[in-house]
């Protein structure tokens, strides 16, 4: 369905020294450097999959999306979607895709929301009957009814995002690209949007590629993730396998009956662990112990803890994907994929 091979994008960037003097200098004698925004990325996406595209700010996520949607021309490499090359047969190609950039809108700012849909209907040559059906479906999924007659400029961010997603789906695209579709939204709206995406994916086998910084999006929606950093792919696989590979971190949390007795717990000595493998935090209400389950099993941790102190409450938390990704972002090492 989507084949991306050694996709690369370089930008020329003027080097400017600070201040007006620097600006003047570069105006008279410009110096350029080449910046590689996307560095030979390869991945495939089968039909009907929801792929999460994640990475820190400036990793090159949007640049990849822009190449896949025909907005940017790649410097080198290949991308093929539905057998079409985005920047070559652009006009034909974009009929089959839907695109939402969370930070921008494609709606007609000054007019009632409905007007946008009637224009898009003509642009995409959707016939009347299909349009009617489609609108009632989108209405059901995204709940547009209450604001469809309001001018777009008066919509709240959540309404606008739903309206934008509906606009991208009007022509029943086979592939949907969502660049940060939940940015700046509250929890309830995020949830609505996630459900809508899921429903559309299930009903119509729409392939979805989404970028996000919200890991809840990833956990709730994505079958697979591709993680990129500094333009390079650093991980490609199922979320479970990410947890498996990098998720040995567990968190033991308990409320001791007596804090003074609990203070006798010394995990480092007991299990001979280094600082990297264990981290204990006592906030006065509870004690949290983060540990590497490769080095010491959950069972041993539990039995040692309970042998020293009585507890009112205890639980062991799973690896938190957010933590894993933070670790990977920070360490920045190439961990292959």
């Amino acid at each position: 369905m989507i084949y991306v091979e050694k996709l690369r994008k370089e930008f020329k960037k003027a080097i400017k020294e600070p201040g007006l003097k620097g600006s003047l200098k570069s105006f008279i004698k410009p110096k350029n450097e080449i910046i590689t925004a996307v560095d030979d990325i390869t991945f495939h996406v089968p039909k009907g999959e929801i792929l999460g595209f994640i990475g820190p700010n400036g990793a090159g996520k949007s640049t990849v999306i822009k190449m896949l949607t025909g907005i940017l021309t790649p410097t080198s490499g290949k991308c093929e979607i539905n057998g079409q090359i985005p920047y070559k047969n652009r006009k034909n190609y974009v009929k089959e895709i839907g695109v939402v950039f969370g930070q921008r809108t494609q709606l007609w700012w000054d007019l009632a929301l409905r007007e946008t849909y009637t224009v898009l209907k003509e642009i995409y040559e959707v016939d009347d009957e299909q349009y009617k059906k489609r609108m009632s479906f989108l209405n059901e999924v995204l709940d547009l009814e209450s604001f469809i007659t309001s001018p777009v400029r008066t919509l709240s961010l959540g309404q606008r995002m739903r309206a934008d997603i509906a606009a991208s789906l009007l022509h029943s695209p086979k592939v949907l690209f969502l660049d940060e579709p939940t940015i700046g939204l509250d929890v309830v709206v995020k949830d609505n949007i996630r459900n809508a995406i899921k429903q559309i994916n299930e009903n119509e086998q729409t392939t979805v590629i989404l970028t996000t910084h919200d890991l809840q999006d990833v956990e709730n929606l994505c079958d697979r993730i591709v993680m990129i950093d500094k333009g390079k792919k650093v991980f490609d696989g199922a979320i479970d396998s990410l947890k498996e590979r990098y998720g040995q971190s567990r968190e033991l949390k308990f409320i001791p009956v007596n804090f003074d007795i609990a203070a006798n717990l010394d995990y480092e000595r007991e299990f001979n662990l280094s600082d990297n493998d264990i981290f204990v935090e006592n906030d006065g209400h509870s004690i949290s112990v983060k540990f590497n389950s490769d080095k010491v099993s959950v069972e041993k941790m539990l039995s040692y803890t309970l042998s020293v102190t009585h507890v009112k409450d205890i639980n062991v938390g799973d690896a938190d994907i957010e933590e894993i990704i933070k670790d990977i972002y920070k360490s920045g090492v190439d961990i292959g994929g």
């Binding site: 025909g70 940017l72 034909n92 494609q106 007609w108 000054d110 009637t118 003509e122 940060e180």
Partner: protein, 269 residues
């Protein structure tokens, strides 16, 4: 058949977009009315100054007042038509590319140039159009022009292609923004040369005359075609020149535009 269908669709979309833009204008009533009053004022001031100038100077380099009014009126028509349909190119030069807003045109299944230009229907242009037509209607009965089928046809052709000289120049200069991110001032500089076109080219010195004939050929949007109707002359140069210049500028413009689209770098988000 396919071509006819395509043209039909283009016109249909065009109509829809114009309707949308008119609705947009109506949305902001105060702004619309103020704009309309301002436009009429601007043209009234133009008229006033012209009458002042010609109350002092009865003839200009052999051209009578009526003939000058004819050239002036002629000059306004292509300018107004370009203004009406292709005004959004200014936004390309000033901010659409710089802000990365060009993205949305690229995700629609229509030509980018079409999508950009149909988005704005600049009704301000009706001021120039009305004044231009008025000037022609006032001057024609007082000068010796034979109104026949050939002349009317040539007139329409001349106005149409003159329009494309304006559009072509704007297209080339606005496309520069694909590389430099902003080219509004370049556009403005080239565009303002059209002010020379309202008067006979023969009143200027050689340098200016050559520039507006061969380099930024605004002379072909008014003086050359208009003087064919006024004093005769070689239609191959006066009207043919307009057609050749328009075709060359539009071809170059579309070429540069397409090159620019593939060099487009968007903006970070």
């Amino acid at each position: 058949m396919r071509i006819i269908k395509k043209i039909h669709r283009t016109f249909k979309l065009h109509r829809i977009f114009i309707k949308q833009d008119l609705k947009r204008l109506m949305e902001y009533k105060v702004d619309f009315l103020t704009g309309a009053v301002g436009m009429l004022l601007a043209q009234a001031i133009n008229l006033f100054f012209l009458s002042v100038i010609f109350s002092q100077i009865p003839s200009l380099n052999g051209y009578t007042f009526e003939q000058i009014i004819f050239i002036y009126g002629f000059a306004l028509l292509p300018k107004a038509i370009d203004h009406l349909f292709f005004d959004n190119l200014w936004s390309i030069g000033y901010f659409i590319i710089r802000k990365g807003d060009f993205d949305k045109y690229l995700t629609r299944p229509v030509s980018t140039l079409f999508a950009v230009t149909v988005e704005k229907f600049q009704v301000d242009a009706f001021g120039e159009l009305i004044v231009g037509i008025t000037f022609l209607c006032v001057s024609i009965p007082q000068i010796d022009i034979s109104i026949n089928f050939i002349n009317i046809l040539l007139f329409i052709i001349a106005v149409l292609f003159s329009t494309f000289i304006y559009t072509g120049i704007k297209l080339i200069t606005s496309s520069i923004a694909f590389w430099t991110k902003r080219s509004g001032h370049v556009m403005y500089m080239f565009y303002m040369v059209n002010e020379f076109a309202k008067y006979p080219t023969t009143i200027y010195n050689k340098v200016v005359a050559s520039i507006i004939t061969y380099i930024i050929p605004f002379a072909f949007t008014a003086f050359f075609p208009a003087s064919y109707f006024l004093v005769g002359g070689n239609p191959l140069f006066n009207i043919g020149g307009t057609i050749v210049m328009a075709a060359a500028l539009m071809a170059l413009g579309i070429f540069v535009w397409n090159k620019g689209v593939s060099a487009y770098e968007s903006a970070g988000s």
